[in-house]
């Protein structure tokens, strides 16, 4: 599929970078003229994925978060959010709404449910001790 535009970002897993990451991805898709709702959906999904990298992937320390985003035909936006953290033992369980391993940090366990609700597709690949990649796909109406 023909790539119309693409970008790459990497930044340290500091919580102050959550706002930077979602703002950067939304700025990247602005020339597709998204609706306020489409933009808000993508922004929220990216925020959830980046927060997961910080709270879960790098919970034992800090590391680098990598984001790649591309726009392909039919206004399809694909955003990959990757960490090299501790990985997820059981991806299916992690994706269950309200499942959380961090209740003491007041995590609601809704991250993946929000991503799934706000995007057209969410894929998760993870290996324990290697890291996790979340791939979000969203079509912006033409």
């Amino acid at each position: 599929m023909k790539i119309i535009n693409e970008m790459k970002l990497s930044f340290p897993s500091k919580s102050c970078n959550e706002a930077f990451a979602r703002a950067a991805v939304t700025a990247f898709v602005m020339n597709l003229d998204p609706t306020v709702e489409e933009l808000s959906d993508l922004k929220t999904a990216v925020s959830e994925a980046v927060t997961n990298c910080i709270v879960h992937g790098y919970r034992h320390g800090s590391g680098t978060i990598f984001i790649t985003a591309k726009i392909t035909e039919a206004n399809k936006v694909t955003v990959k959010i990757r960490d090299k953290g501790c990985g997820i033992e059981n991806v299916n369980q992690a994706m269950q709404p309200l499942f959380t391993t961090a209740p003491e940090e007041e995590r609601a366990g809704l991250g993946f449910a929000v991503m799934q609700s706000f995007c057209d597709s969410v894929k998760v690949s993870s290996k324990p001790q290697k890291g996790t990649t979340v791939t979000l796909e969203k079509y912006i109406a033409v």
Binding site: T44, I54, P97, A108, A113
Partner: protein, 100 residues
């Protein structure tokens, strides 16, 4: 990011801007500090000026609900913009009866 007002046993926290994991941690500290010292009958979280929220906002509300129960008070969440109400609806928070 946050203004608080206390009168007639009601502590109101006017939250402004974006609520994510980073902001929620700061909001939690400030709101809990005020609630612990004032011991209000009602904590009112006003979301009228919140422009963005991810699921960290759900954790913030659930956590304050538990905190208020511990000190014998109640929680109310008001002026939630439509754009962020969806996340509250997904969370099952509506069943707590705190959303207005």
């Amino acid at each position: 990011m946050l203004k608080t007002d206390y009168r007639d046993n009601v502590l109101t926290a006017y939250i402004d801007g974006e609520i994510d994991h980073d902001a929620a941690a700061r909001l939690r500290t400030t709101i809990d500090g005020a609630a612990q010292s004032l011991k209000p009958r009602l904590l009112c979280l006003d979301f009228g000026s919140v422009r963005f929220m991810d699921s960290s906002g759900v954790g913030l509300v659930m956590g304050r609900y538990r905190q208020m129960k511990l000190i014998g008070g109640r929680l109310r969440v008001v002026n939630v913009p439509d754009s962020i109400y969806r996340i509250f609806a997904m969370s099952g928070l509506e069943s707590l009866g705190v959303l207005r």
